[in-house]
Symmetry: D2
Subunit: 397 residues, 4 copies
């Protein structure tokens, strides 16, 4: 990418982050409602720290301690669970920090003094945090007694894709997955490699709220036979009887409390719930190879993304709406090499105890996603915009 | 108190609370750095809720849920540890709530429609929360990486009282303690009653930082022989090796980080530390009867109080500077009767697992304190402005 | 006590401990069902260690590590919660250890080479552990699915004392409490000293199961108004709805499961429950001074003690049956001096966070108790043989 | 298998379990030193319960509650962490239970009234618990202060296999893994299926203690760069600085404390440690497909197994010595179907949060292992007899 294009993209991505915060009060941007859900202010500062430290290579010692997330190579940092305790630096100070680093970045790009691949990594990093801002904010607002809306003017997602649930069949065999070519991809998507896939079918539609309601009505949350052992322990210990944010016949959305729409894609399900519901349906979750094979013929740009400002799933294609849990644990691809230097910690060190999710969600920026994109979360994660697409063994019928 | 005086006092106390918050940012007023240290915004709202609910008897259902502290009789409430999660209602909304309730209170007082004893209780309640605002805020600011000062223009406390450490001797015998007369006192200070006290001596001065430094230098924090069993477990589990806020040769004060002043009264000591240091000195803590007997001849108005705006202990009389731990557990006086109604929960239900502290501190409003005043905290509390005055057996020498 | 009498008493106390273990299997003597309830084998070894280490002054290094309970001055030791993990040394080895130390002790006593006061302390220590053997064993057996009886041939306790519940009235005034004279008493019972006591009445009978059943029927365990704040948190967190060992209409006793006898003294109540039930009855718990004053005219030898082998409360005097919770926290008496040396840790260091209980129980050896005897446990302790005697303000009516 | 052979095998396996317990005291067989390490007595009873309940289909209600491990379909059961609290039924009673069920099983086999596949499952189940008896016992004895040996007459394992460390290279391609044919295999080994494997090399020898010592000497346990994020949190939180059972230059073995032998296979490593050491060596762990491919040409009967009574690893083939961690998470094979009925819970419900280990160990019965055998444990498990074999990308050099 040439300097002008890089500058344009840098400005656009950075501006979008600020835009997402516009409806929020200073207080909304400070709260950390649980260790995994960081304050908006922290996200604003951390993404800026990434450019200052990783791209410009000029860390501010104080901000390096405050806003380093998990890079052991870059020194000690604020304990994750205490990010919401930082009333200082103020939001205003963080905003000034953003402006300052933006100016330095723009100069550096213009003068050709930056590694454009690192800039691109920083922008994709920023987009991931745009998604986290929305995800964490939903938890911040949605777990408060007053349950305030983020915005009350949000459009509803249009329903695209196949009208009725159906299966697409694949013959399998030796196929290739992983990022091809030289376009941007995270290190964990590489190398592109061969895998052997048995014949399988994958659903054209995600599971809807109607399906989850049927599982609940069938006593699914009280019947151990559908659950992984860890999953049963999890829902028992946490007293979970429905997806996160469900309260009776309503659920919390970024547009406020709404009646549960039966036809919308179900969201905020943990892997355990996704697996149990799939089992109850006599099906299973797809592997990530199956998912990628099925998605590779679709246009990633279609679908309901954060750019559409619905911030809630409709009912659509494999891309957008919800991140789809796969049966695959998050592990290195054959021949995986993590990036050199501190950014080597970006993805590789998390390759244990997590499941892969695919396809992006209504919280994901549209130009951030690819068929080969691997997201990953622990099986008990529910605050993510995650849902279910079924698969089953066997090919064309 | 007549209506005019009551109105004057009401306005003064309420205004002082607001004044204490003036140096704080919106963000400073939201943070809850641990379950025991509530956000300033919560204190502002809770004290207002007290007037609205207890005095005016007209609770707002939403605010009753949000700002009830611990009154079981008044219904369910936000979990204590989550007070800092409330970005809504905003600080601005809480300030408007204060103004609204102030207006209604002033009208009601003027029209004689309030129980003036309840108003007085509400004002003393507000003063307790003024103290907690400072106490909790010190924890909020003092445990952040940037350690910001609350104010940088704070005067230093003057040193009053006896110049050198010495003992005052008392003959003991049957004496009376507890609140006498009809002036305001909390229910737990009543009834005034007789106790038998053996001859004792009590120190004219509190322990100073110099004394704590000597204890540290003597290995006191590593030597089990000085400690209560629970205390030894406590400092071992928490890896405590010095008073709270000490970092090397400095400590955090509301005026920012300062060199530890050897002659100042030591503060932020738990009961366990107070007891251990007293034992190491070959002395003990006073009982609350001894303390009250010794204090009853002193003027409670003298001393370093919050009104002096030092917000840090100097070296003075039994009143002000630091709350002084006593050897007495917080238990009912003979013939104790808690107040009728919800306010019965104010003091009585906390009479287990806590120790009595006496005398007020540099965080306490001057006109809030009495010789009979009983404060109480669990033995591991360190974020309170608490210190040590020694006592020993035997009378005049 | 001369050597011959001391030897006789030494043999008798040591033999009684062994006798208590006779009905138990090797396995029964190993289990530690919770950190507070030590294995019988550990008690057998620890009491022997006390004589070897404290009295003979000749600690075995290995056994000193294994069987030191909490004496910091005597070095490190097995973590309390892991006492039940010690399959070695075997019970047989521990029994041989007892025989060996018994022989050495008897020789040393005969030869006048021991401090007879320390021997006496060791014997009272052994008697305390006889009681703990029964107490802890009840928890071991009573919390197992098979709920086995300790013995099936236990006699029922006779009902002695006043036939109907009534009050005894006392005028109070300046009275003396604490151990008088030179007979054996623990350091925490001394010095005898004066206290001022207001007029009070104390119940002639302990509360019976019938009274607890009435409290349950009145919804007492679900009504916050009767509970200390800590107590309400405690029963809520632990889901407590009845005394320990109650299962429906039956309870576990060392004689096995039995129908709850309405007229028997209620037992296995925590301080929180004792306080709540007293409050619900419109009364309160006695202070330890009140209790001791009332008990001082009674014969401590009367009552239902462990020597009677009922191991379950009947309905009787202030001595025996159940330890009676007092309103008094466990604190030092004025002028308290703990013993010199390691035995100084025996009592003094536990003087925080505990409540005093008085009178001994059906698990206590008869000749172990005195009117001045102070037992102490944390307010949540339920596995002790503890119950309730009511008191109220005011004197003769 | 005909009835006579089945009876012979039944008797042999059941007798071996009893034989393993012969050196143990009653007390050794009761202790549960952590929730994951069950008492020997429990293993003796649980394996018997399996035959009575699953094979004979005649559960005893009491024993079903006591000795059901995790079968939700078979009703409630004793909490796992409290298995060591059961002093009753006694070991003697459990032994009688074994004899009784043995007799009933032998009659039922002779009369052809049992499903021989379930008998075989029961025997493999018993063999798994023979291994657990040794594994759990090592923790029971090895974490006691006295560190007693299980037996002092244990032979040392002979060193077999390749003399020096080297690599075996494989071309990969589409290969088949999983249990073939109709011989016994667990459901999780089926179906045999194709996978695509890239060219790889696998070490001929496991890592030795010498290798772990080098990692320690290089500061490996203190350097985050080698660790998975979860692994770093794990060793930091648990203060882990060496393999389990290492104390200075010695380690605990079932033969007692011994000097660490540099050439022996390193054991009692968690997945996190295995992964970190592999990374530090510039290599990685094999996938389970790679492992199985490499092992398929070797004789599973060779190697150091429990039958050899060394109970400690030597240095040998891929079979025996230590279970070898693989990079593969424990997930269903394509087309996996769990067994019908309660035994469906045997393996399938544990398919989350665990890693696959392969090859059996010196605690495993020789005739229990297969190349396709999949063992699985959470990544933090250290009390298992687990070690490391390295792999690397690329084929023949």
């Amino acid at each position: 990418m040439n300097a002008m294009n890089l500058t344009r993209r840098f400005k656009a991505v950075r501006a979008r982050t600020v835009e997402l915060c516009a409806p929020l009060s200073i207080e909304d941007q400070l709260v950390q409602p649980m260790p995994d859900a960081s304050p908006t202010k922290w996200h604003l500062a951390h993404t800026t720290w990434f450019f200052e430290t990783i791209v410009l290579g000029a860390p501010d010692p104080e901000f390096n301690f405050l806003f380093n997330s998990y890079y052991e190579a870059l020194g000690p940092r604020v304990e994750r669970a205490r990010r919401g305790m930082l009333s200082r630096p103020s939001l205003e100070r963080v905003q000034a920090y953003r402006s300052d680093v933006d100016a330095r970045m723009e100069t550096a790009i213009a003068e050709g003094r930056v590694d454009s691949e690192l800039v691109e990594l920083g922008l994709h990093h920023e987009q991931q945090h745009q998604e986290l801002i929305l995800t964490d904010l939903k938890y911040t607002l949605g777990t408060q007694p007053l349950q305030p809306a983020y915005r009350t003017d949000l459009p509803r997602a249009a329903s695209v894709g196949s009208p009725a649930g159906d299966w697409r069949a694949f013959d399998g065999g030796v196929v290739e997955i992983g990022a091809a070519g030289s376009g941007f991809a995270f290190d964990n998507e590489r190398p592109r490699h061969r895998v052997f896939v048995e014949p399988f079918r994958i659903a054209t539609r995600t599971l809807a709220n109607r399906d989850v309601q049927a599982f609940i009505a069938a006593g699914g949350y009280r019947d151990a036979q559908w659950w992984l052992s860890d999953g049963w322990s999890f829902i028992t210990a946490e007293a979970i009887t429905a997806p996160l944010y469900w309260r009776g016949d309503e659920y919390y959305t970024l547009g406020g409390m709404r009646a549960i729409a039966p036809d919308e894609t179900a969201c905020h399900l943990s892997y355990y719930e996704a697996d149990a519901i799939a089992r109850w349906r006599g099906a299973r979750l797809p592997t990530e190879a199956e998912w990628e094979l099925a998605a590779s013929s679709l246009d990633p740009q279609l679908g309901n993304f954060a750019d559409d400002n619905a911030f809630h799933p409709g009912r659509g294609s494999m891309f957008g709406d919800v991140w789809e849990w796969t049966q695959s644990s998050y592990l290195p691809y054959p021949g995986f090499r993590q990036l050199a230097g501190a950014v080597g910690e970006y993805n590789g060190k998390f390759m244990s105890g997590q499941q892969v999710l695919r396809g992006g969600s209504c919280f994901t920026p549209r130009d951030h996603i690819r068929a080969s994109y691997r997201n990953f979360f622990p099986p008990g994660a529910r605050w993510q915009m995650s849902g279910v697409r079924l698969a089953e063994d066997g090919g064309r019928r």
